[in-house]
């Protein structure tokens, strides 16, 4: 990862969402992006130029654009039409973003489009987040990494975030993943946790 002083940046064409520039690089704000927050609060995962990434819950393409600055190709899956409009605009200006309009809960819809990937990144506001991650693990190479941004309030707002957190770790472990890092993203994002897992 590229740090200028203690600021995380990515190298690419700026102006995607009026992000700040620093020494010609795009500042990757931990308050706006959960993945950036992971690099500030935990160790994160080193993004390398040869990586192929499947990104579930791409939304407006803000974080996607930073990931695309680091890696070879990002398959960006988003379901809702409104954010997809913005994501398409970002894709038109970056050769390595493949926008896929489909439901991350139904990987069979986009299996004919997506190749095996080194990194699976998931940030979806669904109750069944761990299940969606496991179903998408068929795209992950052996030894590949899953980063699950766990929105505990989307799983069940009545239960304590810590409970949901532990339960999700159990589901992922039972599903055959090895959880390597588990960090809360506070103070940048409340009740959000990041789980970094390896497919054994």
């Amino acid at each position: 990862m590229i740090w200028i002083g203690d600021v995380l940046v990515s190298k690419g064409m700026g102006g995607v969402y009026n992000e700040r520039m620093l020494g010609g690089a795009r500042v990757w704000d931990p308050v706006r992006s959960k993945l950036s927050a992971l690099y500030y609060t935990g160790n994160g995962v080193e993004l390398t130029p040869h990586m192929r990434v499947l990104y579930l819950g791409a939304a407006n393409g803000t974080t996607v654009s930073h990931v695309a600055d680091y890696v070879e190709v990002v398959y960006a899956v988003e379901f809702a039409p409104r954010p997809m409009q913005d994501l398409l605009e970002v894709s038109r200006r970056r050769r390595n973003i493949i926008p896929v309009m489909a439901d991350a809960a139904h990987p069979e819809q986009y299996a004919p489009l997506v190749e095996s990937v080194d990194l699976l990144y998931q940030d979806v506001a669904q109750p069944e987040q761990a299940g969606i991650a496991l179903r998408n693990c068929s795209f992950l190479k052996t030894g590949g990494i899953l980063i699950l941004m766990l929105k505990t309030r989307s799983v069940d707002f009545k239960r304590k975030p810590a409970e949901v957190f532990q339960e999700t770790i159990d589901i992922l472990t039972t599903g055959g993943l090895i959880v390597q890092q588990s960090v809360w993203l506070s103070p940048y994002h409340t009740d959000h946790a990041a789980l970094v897992c390896v497919k054994g």
Binding site: L88, I98, P99, V100, L113, V114, E115, S116, S138
Partner: protein
């Protein structure tokens, strides 16, 4: 055999999919793979197929196909009848907010200019007050009042359009509860499909989110009605039967929304029986 966007692969031999860009997009949007017999896509098969020259060519072709397919999906979603109604009714509610805020502020400003003025004991409707503010004041305050009157006209016209549109998009729901309230239900649910999938109990408390969540979190009583309170049958009903009437009405609305989604035309026999049932609930317990 595995089907990918560029062709079919069978035991290592690849048959390219031949067709114009539109046909490829059609294929991308229709094929799906069963996950049990899933074989991950290998991009170099597309080269063996003769579809792509190299990795760069592969990615750029795939990107072009995916972008066009997504554009088509977006266009389809937006051309559904409910998409624009959603924006119309949200704009209407937003305008109401703006009118209220500005009117309040203009009235406060007017009070400063006329220290002896008070609205107490005088029952001045807001629009009459705004009119007199416009007539009696020059400069910015007068033009703010004029602006409020103009946007009020827009609001009236928009409300008519919303209710007319709701009558075509939600014929049955509108017949039960009126176009405006039906459109607000649609806006809260997020679309016709979403509304038609809601159970009656959810429709009953749509728009009462704060009360509902505080009910679930603490032991506060649950809300009896949300948006549907705006309908005369609920707010005119005697207090002790309001909960009953709103439950019955919400149940019928859930059926009406499903009729609207799946049939899209008015269902007179359902409406008659529903109206009677709702009226009966108010009457029976009211006596």
């Amino acid at each position: 055999m595995q089907s990918y966007w560029f062709g079919d692969v069978n035991d290592g031999t690849c048959t390219a999919f031949i067709g114009d860009p539109d046909a490829i997009i059609q294929r991308v949007r229709s094929i799906s793979t069963s996950t049990d017999s899933f074989v991950p896509l290998e991009w170099d098969q597309s080269v063996r197929c003769g579809v792509c020259r190299d990795r760069i060519d592969y990615l750029s072709k795939l990107q072009a196909v995916c972008i066009t397919a997504a554009e088509q999906s977006i266009r389809e979603q937006y051309s559904k009848k409910d998409a624009e109604l959603l924006q119309m009714v949200r704009t209407l509610d937003e305008i109401d907010n703006v009118i209220n805020l500005l009117s309040e502020r203009a009235a406060e400003w007017y009070l400063i200019r006329h220290p002896s003025f008070s609205r107490k004991y005088r029952r001045i409707p807001a629009n009459a007050l705004i009119k007199s503010i416009r007539e009696k004041n020059k400069g910015a305050l007068g033009s703010v009042a004029a602006e409020i009157e103009r946007i009020t006209e827009t609001r009236v016209a928009l409300a008519k359009e919303v209710s007319a549109r709701a009558n075509t998009v939600l014929p049955n729901t509108s017949a039960l509860i009126g176009g405006l309230v039906a459109a607000r239900l649609l806006s809260q649910a997020g679309g016709l499909l979403a509304l038609s999938r809601l159970p009656g109990s959810a429709i009953q408390v749509l728009g009462a989110r704060t009360a509902l969540f505080s009910h679930i979190r603490t032991r506060s009583p649950c809300p009896k009605h949300g948006i549907i309170f705006q309908h005369r049958r609920i707010h005119n009903a005697p207090r002790e039967v309001r909960g009953k009437v709103s439950r019955v009405l919400a149940g019928k609305l859930a059926i009406a929304a499903r009729l609207d989604y799946f049939r899209g035309v008015i269902a007179p026999e359902f409406l008659d029986s529903a109206q009677e049932r709702i009226d009966a609930t108010g009457r029976r317990v009211g006596q």
